[in-house]
Subunit: 437 residues, 2 copies
Amino acid sequence: MKAEIICIGTELLMGQIVNTNAQFFASELHELGIDSYFQTTVGDNEKRIHEVLELALKRSDIIITSGGLGPTSDDLTHESIASYFNVKPTLDKKVLSEIEKKFSSRGYKKMPAMNKKQAYKPIDAKWIPNENGTARGIIWDVGRESLIVNRISIREGIRSTIHNPQLTILTFPGVPSELYSMWNETAKPYLKKISGGNSIFSRTLKFTGIGESALAEMIEPVFDLKNPTVAPYAGLGEVKIRVTSKSKNLAKAKKDVLKTCKSILLKTKDYYFGDDEESLEEIVGKLLIAKKKSIALAESCTGGFLSKRLTDVAGSSKYIKLNLVTYANEAKNKMLNVPDEILKEHGSVSPQVAFLMAKGIKDLASADMGFSITGVAGPSGGSKEKPVGLVYFAIAYGNKVKVEKKQFSYKYSRADIRWLATQFALNWIRESLMVIR
Amino acid sequence: MKAEIICIGTELLMGQIVNTNAQFFASELHELGIDSYFQTTVGDNEKRIHEVLELALKRSDIIITSGGLGPTSDDLTHESIASYFNVKPTLDKKVLSEIEKKFSSRGYKKMPAMNKKQAYKPIDAKWIPNENGTARGIIWDVGRESLIVNRISIREGIRSTIHNPQLTILTFPGVPSELYSMWNETAKPYLKKISGGNSIFSRTLKFTGIGESALAEMIEPVFDLKNPTVAPYAGLGEVKIRVTSKSKNLAKAKKDVLKTCKSILLKTKDYYFGDDEESLEEIVGKLLIAKKKSIALAESCTGGFLSKRLTDVAGSSKYIKLNLVTYANEAKNKMLNVPDEILKEHGSVSPQVAFLMAKGIKDLASADMGFSITGVAGPSGGSKEKPVGLVYFAIAYGNKVKVEKKQFSYKYSRADIRWLATQFALNWIRESLMVIR
């Protein structure tokens, strides 16, 4: 069974956005054990969508599209797929009223007329519901003979005939957040079922504080394994290693994966922080709850980014009472009791100030742990002594305060330096909590 | 003149990396005024590279590839392109010695034998030098009759004959940093010369506080324009309208775009906030600088997200001194002087508390403007009276405090509600600053 990805959207051809959907589909298909050899991007243009479909239908069993399901006249995906098979989309009145309700629940008096088209689909296609928007996708098993015959008898100039009873088209909107939940809730279980009943088990090990190639070198031979397969995925300040096994028997697949994971972790555990969808902030949150500790933050160069990440986690109010963004020296002095003389003598980006900020926020918030960040995020504000990318961190716990220094490469952008600083901070907080009783 | 992008690499098919090269090429081609209708991704596989080439050569004049120029045996791009045209690559001894020098300058005793293949190319192709690595690309004008004839006379089973004297293939390695400088130094000047000099001008108008379809309906006829073209792009809490014009004359293209933008803004200006790459937080930052005002934030449910966004902007320390994340009632009371009785009587998510938080942070930070957010981000913590998605905002300026209430749909995720709250907040701050003298 082969799948093929078609991303539809003139904004992709114009380079306005990066195509992250293709990566999402590809990675998911890989996990499902479904081969995928081609990805195509095409604009919102019926003729060219037909061209791309024509080819994809010849070489693949499953066609997955994203984009072009919006309400405007340039959103053409469903219309183009239907017209390719010479089928006229029909109105689903139930779905229309659901879309109308969505608008009224969001405070609109009336659904805009153009959204009506989102309730049309080929009559025998099934909807993929979209919890987060009005653009539903479809699952259409177009490989059935009835449709093919219909298409061939009516459309002319078709060079090749499709005889592939497996042929199925799945469509998704282009907005990633909508697409992800549609995939997970509807498409993934469907594909799992039709892709032959092989059980797939997969675990992703997550690492920080090490680069992709250094980590890969530690465990190199595993990348040649055939089942389970092992693949690395590099991100900024984070590397993932995905171990996937395919078997008729789920228990066996699981056992194989866990065994391989164990052997990987033997060599890499110093950099490992969690599995699968677990984020660093979630793990820190779980540790704070497990250890019954509260934390308070004083941020300078990250400007609230660390607080944002920790509070991304639902229920974080259990361990966070108060965080401060003290951008100005005046605020560091007034709120955190960092003496003016220290700020003058050492500057706000210094181990001394990081130390006092962590202590100050711990005391102010009456928290178990105080954490501080102060650095130069750039692009300006750097000097020879304190270049862009220099960041100090401190943890105050009990009567102790520890300080760490990191020099991120000046080649990183402001946004990247701020991200990397929060990654380092969360990982250090995690490590510190691990050893607290 | 049409160009087409082919990205080659099994890591893309497995979803291990996001394909940022496609976006880079697409955006560069758009700027050069060269149309590009298709992007294809294919693995490191000679047969499938031939398949993709076969199609691309039929419909485009310029083929741009990335990936597959490394030294390992699975790097096949040059070999596959050459074999498609039945050409045997020849060794360029000068380039070989340059690669050897590169290795010795990096401290290697000897060039690894496998790197020798990076010195081979079709004899009549030109090199694209690579300053940052050993993988050179090529510019190959394969449209010349001699080659085509050669190919047709030798290879069999070819269905279509190419007669396109413009046909040119450009290859690049997959590593973005290598590719960018190769593009800018060699490929871009070459393409500029051969593409005939059409100029493109484009402007993106950005809107918030309105959905894509409602906005599109206000200006619907413009989507049918042929030159300039107008296209909408929807995001969460933000809609973009891009207006693009193509002309032999850049001044004319620009004039046409600005005229169309003006007519769009006549009907939509209430929701418009900026152009092109400008973000809401940048615009708020510019307004704060222009009006010489400082701002201080007190966040509850957004947990630092608004502070993070405002400090994403370089130079934001000019107008931000101190922000607070007061998650706990105790913190609202202690830091912002919100009386316990008010918190008890109305609850922390209430207009009264939003009011006092904004006033409290303004006073505490001695800022010109105080801004507060308190709400229920979910997924738990909602009630019948105060459901998930209910958020209060307040602005304190001068002696006045204004409060706003928003009820975001409970269907949005915690992350989306927090994002939408910061969008609303930034836009309200923007609107408020606009009318301040």
